[in-house]
Amino acid sequence: MSENIENRIKYIEDKFKDWGDIVKRKFYIGEKREQAVYITYIDDMVNRSLIEEEVIKNLIINIRLTPPAGGDPNKYSSYINGGVTTADIKNITDIDDAILEVMCGNTLMLLDGWDEILIISTKGFPKRGVDKPENEIAVQGPQEAFAESIRINTVLIRRRIRDTRLKCIQSKAGNTSQTDIALMYMEGIADKELVENIKRKLENINTDMVYDSGYLEQLLEENRYSPFPQIQLTERPDKTAAELMEGRIAIVVDTSPFVILLPAVLASFYQASEDYYQRWEIMSFVRIIRYLAGFVAFSLPGLYIAVALYHPSMIPTELALRLAGARQMVPISTVVEIIVMELIFEALREAGTRIPASIGSTLGIVGGIIIGQAAVDAGLVSPIAVIIIALTGICSFAIPNIALVSAYRLIKYFIIFTSAMAGLLGFVAGLLLVLVHIASLDSFGIPYAAPFSGTNRGKRTILKDTVFRFPIRNKESRHFYSEMESENIER
């Protein structure tokens, strides 16, 4: 670009044509007002007082009153050093990069005759502060959640790990959105190759928009057709810090209150940060409940269909008679009954997510009493079907990760289908098919089923922080993920 300020102003103003929220000003500084300066920024995306106090006021008034000492041979450096009294500034040469910086909330400053462009960090977006977690609720432990600002989020992590090994590499994703992302990892703990691999993947992302970490999650996943989440999202800074110490990598995405954690194994979706804040006995018990609940959440309706349709002789006689009695008046088949009830429950769940909190209780009444009780009374469904669906729904809520719950929701229908086709054989075949799929998944080089399989670790190590949560002082491996990566490379 030409260093002529007029040409550059014209170029910038052409780019920002019809931008009602752009603020621009050209003024003159220096003892004799000989130096033209042009400043532009986006209204309300910047910290206005910072620009006015630390930049404009200094340049227009202070420099004139007390001109910079003549030690500096470069007059432009003198103006900048004397007139811009903020620490975070940078010089760039490409005008398009400078325009991008303006769109990120920074202030662009041109000096006539100077071929570089000064970018002053003045970000000051309207943003939500640190709030309580809404999805990963913990009774005991920190009550802070990530917010939509990348800087708040990185600070929340840094506050917990005061170590120079915690690295934060910043870049942008999305050709149009140019969303800020920060790759955080513990140097010396996280696997080097994995860090490089993820850096490469982030660089190669080719998409227009990255609105949320969910976008990035889908772009980074290796098996895009799998319903299972291979990357974990968390809204808890304490969990993120703990996972970084285990050798995982965190990606903080601006505008998203969820941080990406990778790699992720199936067992990690059953862990909650609260598990480590309470006594190990109770949390081990809770973990077992979660695993059982997870199994019930996707298998119970299928198992019921398999047994009720194909193997009634496997049910104890009294129960079989009771079931037959309850189903006597139901006009639809067991499979249709279960599927319809499941779909109604899905609709209720979806409505529950969207409904305003003030009328949320109405949904409970409608769903529980009207649909549940009335449908049974009318003989449309059997009470056992309602129990099965309710139990499945309750168990799905016991899993601490919503992405895994969603995967189980889908798998449940697949198991229902296979069980309806071939009873227990179909049920077992369906389960094995899911298991084969899980066993064939890798998350950034780590077997998804680890540490239950795909590792040569002993049973005790496997049990210590998966199905059980042994006392913290007994925890042998502090860097599970990095150790798994090296084990996988050796293999």
Partner: protein, 325 residues
Amino acid sequence: MNDKISPKELNSIVILSVLGFEILLLPKICASFFSALCAALFSLFLMCIAIFSNIDIYENKLWQIVFFIKNILMTVLLTKIFADAIHFIMLRDMALYKIIFIITLLCGYCGYKGIEPIGRIGQIIFWFVLAFTLYIYIMSLPDIKWENITPNINGEGLKAAIYGFVINSGEIIILLKNKLSGDKIKLFRSAVTGFILFAFISLVIIGKLGMAGVYNTMYPSFELMYTADLPGFVIKRQEGIFISLWMISCFITLFVYFYSSNALAKKIFIDRKYIMLIIMAVVFAFSYVHISPSATIKNYCFLQIIGGMLTALILPLLYIRRNKK
């Protein structure tokens, strides 16, 4: 996925194969407990040969062809035996072809996915299957009538020892050995565990049902599951759980045969994805040939006497000799 399997995973697969097809077949075939013990000992011997032999069936063209033919026949017969057992035990109203279709589809998919997922599944489910299976057999221990355990190794016993070849665990080790990422000596553990398990299960089945009971039942291990007097603290009629777990063990064995057939076919013919589809079609078509369940078992035993002798004993032995030279 690097198509490798760890010793732990291979150990799980071998033991699951003992808990699957072998407990389905051998107590019935063997004439007495001591015959079954001979068969189990012979199986241990085969597994040791398989472990210490350096045969690599995927390298030599001739062995590729020999093992491929044997494998395909084994796969067909095992699929048929498995489908017959499921048809007989659980799904009498369902057409046999549907059962075969489901088995072929699942095993084909898993075989196509490679040996690594198979090994991982084996490792994941191993303790569930082992614990539940042992539970039912341990709970049946008080019902053993010791007069049924006769120290009898006659002609029938000898026959049983020959039928010992039906134990395919040794063959599984040979089929998967070159995929092993670890010390092969570690496999010795599964050989010994397999032997102990098989001897124990045969003791319980034959001891409880007696040889007359075993002869009069198509699948004695299921008879035991149905008649086991288990405390009903979880649910009454728990045999559904055990049958499901047994099915999983059988599936694991079949996965290995489908996988190795696919791997060998790719070496012999052409490395294409659709090879597995052809194998599945062949297995489905031949498994559906109408033969009675007992005739299928006889054919299987015959194949194991002829083919098993070659693939699980003679060829591996040759490679032990070659190494010594």
